[in-house]
């Protein structure tokens, strides 16, 4: 909201500077800034015309000696008719600029007379349209003063407020003036309104009915007859423009003026357009429609409160007037509306139509029901003064005149304890006085009645806040103690996420955060889990909550590839969502973690291979084992969107899958090179890690025996299967199985491969002799032969 300092001065004498007000009001909770005006000129000072003589060579030019401060007197040639000795004028010095730097002032000669600068008109300075002559400054400011300071002291200053939703009372000049009164430790002076009424009774001209008093507790009207709608006078135009509004005509401007002045929205109807001399405040009938002032046609919903005449709606209550009933140049008799509507009703109307007006903003934040009479009289009086006509006798004022405001009991002891301060009763009373809170003291308790404009103050704690803000938040001391014992508080829910992050980071992964909102199409690429759709998305690209981390990771890969990054590993930990209709929120949320390998780097002198599934598996094993997985098993599996994939299990719990993303999917992300991804379930991993309680295992004192075996196997037999057979038949004494050679060649025969295993044996109880080892090897070989058709070479 925009307020003008000059306007505020109608209500209160202000001793503080604009800067002090800006600070003080912000500290009171009314965040505001002084609107900084940007002037299009530089290097302009207040000059004094010490002498003026006629230019010898030109009739219309004068040659002036102008004092521009610090006893510097320069000669300036001036063409303005009003330049004369003894004037204070704005002077742009040599080197100054006009029109935002576009025009630079140089030392020049005009018809052989030197001119050092220029005496300026309003138009030249970009301050107005007047080009009649140079500006004549009526000021006490010393010669040489920067012209901008002159403008700031003589002109208005505007404050722009960012009001919090609870302070509807400050949505007006009177409201801001009341807060300034707190800073000034004084009181505002109210306007005096004296109305002359005609003999005609208002009630003979109009009849008002409120059908729903909850939605509209009070509705007041006045009528002014025989007015002349015309352009507003200068003072009104200035006021209206000073806060950034456009002047329309005297009636509309005055209605706006009164609203901005006292915070109560006003509406003016053309009495002739109200059918049946009736105003009815009601909710719509079925299928009712209306056209608003902005010419939009709306279909009315049952919650839209209306102002109607006998036949039709003439305004959407508290939001906007109707198209047909408004004032125009031909209107003569005016009906002024000033009502109190339920904030929720107005908000619902405005929200459902996506309209926000100056009126609806104020009604939504609640208005002062007791200011209605003042506001309507003020507007009637101003209309009579500016537009002529006569005010008819009496206000039609239907409904309650005030709200019942139950007194709030306030304990200063509790207040002091709650805020951590130590105010004496007289200090608290002083604060109440500044806030216009009246009180009665009974024993230790104050019974407080708040002024009707403070709809936000209902409870004792609200008054604590008032005390705190008037006393000053900065004056409250800082303390810091915790009463209860630590053991009585709840404990951390999760600890493992950071461990996973750290382990992955140590293994070369950079952590990525991707957008949780993705398109429907991306939700279907890697997961069959139904995903959750937003009903009001920003765009179709972000209309769903992710059901997998993979799309986000691939987007990051795509960006990096496009930006010519050739080798990287990424990690993401985040929440994914599955749609489950049976849940109240429709969401089952789980924590996932994903890993990415991307390698398109040039060859290395040591022929280090690019990332492949085996290197990726190594990273995953390191990470999972460090996270507490003791018993990892992998198996080939099919996975949506993968060329090939392995599932990784720990003790029958599937932790995740790892594999190569299919070319078709990569095309969707415009990725050219291979990408390997691990897609893991963090809940499952945590369930494994939590049980990971260590117990020391004795280290064997006996020697390790190594034996190598060479096998000839069919190509289609997987190493995983061979290895698990070897482990199974090797028993407890087989400690390590290592594949040290793998060879495929024609000489081995069709579809055969040769595999060299190195096996290590060790016992906790004895030195293993050849007999035991040979027997075990034999068992392994025959099992390999029986189960997989492997032949020892």
């Amino acid at each position: 909201m925009n307020t003008s300092l000059n306007w505020l001065k109608d209500y209160i004498e202000i001793t503080q500077s604009p800067l002090e007000l800006e600070k003080g009001l912000t500290a009171l909770g009314l965040e505001c800034i002084i609107q900084k005006q940007k002037y299009p000129f530089s290097n302009v000072v207040i000059g004094f015309v010490e002498e003026k003589k006629q230019h010898s060579n030109a009739d219309k030019l004068s040659v002036c000696n102008v004092n521009i401060g610090n006893d510097e007197v320069v000669q300036i040639v001036c063409g303005a008719p009003n330049v004369r000795k003894g004037l204070k004028v704005p002077v742009i010095k040599v080197g100054g600029t006009l029109d935002f730097g576009a025009f630079k002032i140089k030392k020049t000669k005009l018809r052989s007379e030197d001119s050092h600068g220029m005496i300026c008109s309003e138009k030249e300075l970009g301050l107005g349209d007047s080009h009649d002559g140079i500006m004549e400054l009526n000021t006490e400011l010393p010669i040489g003063t920067d012209f901008i300071s002159y403008l700031q002291t003589s002109n208005d200053v505007n404050f722009d407020f960012e009001l919090t939703p609870n302070r509807g009372d400050c949505f007006s000049h009177i409201g801001v003036a009341r807060e300034i009164a707190i800073l000034e430790k004084s009181q505002i002076s109210e306007r005096e309104i004296n109305i002359n009424e005609s003999n005609i009774n208002t009630k003979d001209l109009i009849n008002v009915t409120i059908e729903n008093e909850d939605a509209c507790p009070r509705y007041a009207t006045r009528i002014v007859r025989n007015v002349k709608v015309e352009p507003s006078p200068d003072w009104l135009v200035n006021r209206i423009q000073s806060i950034g509004l456009k002047s329309i005509n005297n009636i509309v401007d005055l209605a706006n003026y009164v609203m901005m002045d006292c915070g109560h929205p006003m509406h003016a109807f053309d009495l002739d357009k109200i059918t049946g001399n009736k105003i009815i405040v009601r909710f719509p009938k079925q299928n009712e429609k209306m056209q608003l002032l902005d010419e939009s046609e709306i279909e009315l919903k049952e919650h839209h409160l209306l102002i109607c005449d006998q036949e039709k709606p003439i305004a959407l209550a508290g939001v906007m007037g109707g198209f047909d009933s408004g004032i125009n140049e031909n209107s003569t008799d005016i009906l002024i509306e000033c009502a109190y509507f339920d904030p929720k009703v107005v908000r619902k109307s405005a929200k459902s139509l996506d309209i926000s007006t100056d009126a609806s903003k104020r009604f939504e934040r609640d208005t002062d029901i007791e200011r209605i009479e003042f506001a309507i009289n003020h507007l009637a009086l101003l209309i009579e003064e500016l537009a002529g006509g006569e005010i008819t006798k009496g206000i039609i004022d239907v409904g309650i005149k005030s709200k019942i405001i139950p007194p709030i009991s306030f304990s200063s002891r509790k207040c002091n304890r709650f805020l951590g301060i130590n105010l004496k009763n007289n200090e608290i009373e002083e604060i109440f006085d500044l806030l216009n809170i009246s009180y009665k003291k009974e024993d230790d308790i104050y019974l407080c009645v708040v002024p009707s404009y403070r709809n936000d103050l209902e409870r004792e704690v609200d008054l604590f806040e008032e005390v705190a803000r008037v006393f000053g938040y900065d004056n409250i001391p800082e303390e810091f103690s915790f009463t209860s014992n630590y053991n009585t508080f709840i404990k951390d829910e999760q600890l493992s996420f950071n461990k996973l992050r750290d382990i992955s980071a140590s293994n070369g992964f950079l952590e990525h955060y991707s957008n949780s909102l993705i398109s429907e199409q991306l939700c279907q690429l890697f997961s069959k889990q139904p995903s959750i759709q937003l009903s009001n998305p920003l765009s179709q690209e972000m209309a769903y909550l992710r059901n997998s981390l993979i799309p986000g990771l691939l987007n990051a890969v795509s960006i990096n590839e496009r930006r010519q990054q050739s080798r990287f590993k990424l990690l993401e930990i985040g929440q994914i969502h599955k749609k489950v209709e049976a849940k109240e929120t429709t969401s089952v949320e789980s924590s996932a973690f994903g890993l990415v390998w991307y390698d398109n780097a040039n060859p290395h002198w040591r022929q280090i291979p690019q990332f492949d599934i085996y290197q990726a598996k190594k990273d995953v094993f390191i990470i999972l084992k460090k996270m507490g997985c003791k018993n990892l098993k992998v198996k080939e599996t099919e996975a949506l969107g993968f060329e090939y994939a392995l599932e990784i299990k720990n003790k029958k719990i599937r932790i995740g899958i790892i594999g190569l993303i299919s070319k078709k999917m990569l095309n969707q992300f415009n990725i050219n090179n291979d990408v390997i991804i691990f897609d893991g379930d963090l809940q499952k991993l945590s369930s494994v890690s939590e049980k990971n309680i260590h117990r020391y295992k004795a280290i064997s004192q006996f020697p390790i025996v190594t034996r190598d075996i060479a096998l000839l196997v069919n190509l289609n037999i997987s190493t995983g299967k061979l290895t698990s057979t070897i482990k199974q038949f090797g028993g407890d004494i087989l400690t390590t199985v290592k594949l040290f050679d793998l060879y495929e060649g024609k000489e081995l025969g069709h579809n055969k491969k040769s595999m060299g295993y190195s096996l290590k044996f060790q016992s906790n109880e004895q030195t293993l002799n050849d007999k035991i080892i040979d027997k075990t090897i034999q068992k392994i070989i025959s099992a390999l032969e029986n189960e997989h058709g492997a032949i020892q070479r």
């Binding site: 912000t26 500290a27 919090t164 939703p165 609870n166 302070r167 904030p343 929720k344 908000r347 619902k348 304890r417 805020l419 951590g420 409870r459 609200d462 604590f464 806040e465 705190a468 803000r469 938040y473 900065d474 409250i476 800082e478 303390e479 810091f480 103690s481 915790f482 009463t483 630590y486 508080f489 709840i490 404990k491 999760q494 750290d502 980071a505 293994n507 070369g508 950079l510 952590e511 990525h512 955060y513 959750i532 937003l534 009001n536 998305p537 972000m542 909550l545 990771l553 987007n555 990051a556 930006r563 990054q565 590993k569 990424l570 929120t585 969401s587 949320e589 780097a601 290395h604 002198w605």
Partner: protein
């Protein structure tokens, strides 16, 4: 005593050969094999141990062990002198590049979050988590933001359906926690939150928050000021000053914004603080009695404070990041700066 004599001979011989040894890896290996190898002179001598009479065996064994040890030490220290003299040992150019490696690291937002968390964890706060998709009740109603209240305009909300929202703040976790636990409560709730705002340099459709909640007997506004000023000093340096301004949040009363003295310019005025000398850091306040009512706590017995801050905002200030979108893009040249 044959072994002792022989041992001394070997020692002498070794030292002589070591002295005259050329700086050549092959020659050095030969020498090592000759004396200390598996079939070297010392091993030979060990194999004669079985012929030594039992009573002399311990002594003979000791002599041989000493021999092996002293030869090894002499040999190693000789190698070391070669190394420290930087003589070429025919081991190739060691300044050739090492094997390729990647330096991983956690995200700048995780860094910032962890820093914030650890300050509060040291004070005994526990971290708890709440759901990203939640009902209107947890995100709004229970926090004293009724339907058709202008406070709803403070947060542009994504809806899943009527009554179900993407949480607009992690304050929903307050309600979940209080409904499940009796006071006292002392938690921080980090997490991802969503706002239906156009994506730009300064705003994104989601961001991250840490919310704090402390409920106990006789908690005062002065405690709130104390703990949050402590936080600001821990986070940004001991010289940081804080200021509290009245504000409005439906779930706290009184409500405040905490500003912090600008640590870029020491309050002299700069671009970052817009020449005001203060930076807005977080919102806070005393828990509103209405919130207590919705979780069935008796406001006569308990009081407390809550606060909430945006991780992105703090990370942007701390690292000088001007474009919020960088956090979610995954450019490794950006992420790689925070390892």
């Amino acid at each position: 005593m044959h072994i002792a004599v022989r041992a001394e001979e070997i020692r002498e011989q070794f030292l002589q050969e070591l002295e005259g040894l050329p700086h050549d890896a092959h020659q050095i290996k030969l020498l090592k094999d000759k004396y200390l190898g598996r079939k070297g002179l010392v091993a030979d001598l060990f194999s004669t141990l079985k012929d030594v009479p039992v009573k002399d065996k311990p002594n003979a064994g000791k002599i041989l062990n000493e021999l092996r040890q002293s030869l090894s030490i002499k040999f190693e220290s000789y190698i070391k002198t070669l190394d420290s003299n930087g003589e070429n040992m025919n081991h190739g150019d060691l300044t050739l590049p090492e094997d390729p490696y990647l330096i991983g690291g956690i995200h700048p937002l995780t860094h910032t979050l962890n820093e914030i968390n650890s300050i509060f964890i040291k004070l005994g706060f526990s971290t708890v988590y709440g759901p990203e998709v939640d009902t209107d009740f947890f995100n709004f109603e229970a926090l004293n933001i009724p339907k058709h209240h202008p406070a709803r305009d403070m947060q542009d909300t994504f809806y899943v359906k009527d009554g179900v929202v993407l949480r607009t703040h992690t304050s929903n976790t307050q309600i979940h926690t209080m409904l499940k636990n009796d006071p006292p409560i002392k938690i921080i709730a980090p997490g991802r939150v969503f706002r239906n705002e156009d994506i730009s340099v300064r705003s994104y459709c989601l961001f991250h928050q840490v919310e704090g909640l402390y409920i106990d007997k006789n908690v005062s506004f002065a405690d709130l000021k104390g703990v949050l000023s402590h936080f600001a000093r821990e986070m940004f340096g001991q010289n940081v000053k804080t200021r509290f301004r009245p504000s409005y949040f439906p779930f706290t009363e009184p409500s405040a914004e905490m500003d912090m003295s600008c640590f870029f310019c020491d309050q002299k005025g700069c671009n970052i603080c817009k020449y005001e000398g203060w930076l807005e850091i977080l919102g806070c306040g005393m828990v509103d009695p209405e919130v207590f009512k919705s979780v069935d706590y008796n406001p006569e017995n308990w009081s407390g404070y809550a606060f909430g801050m945006g991780i992105e905002r703090i990370a942007m200030l701390k690292y000088g990041v001007k474009d919020i979108r960088l956090f979610y893009e995954g450019d490794t040249r950006f992420l790689g700066q925070f390892v």
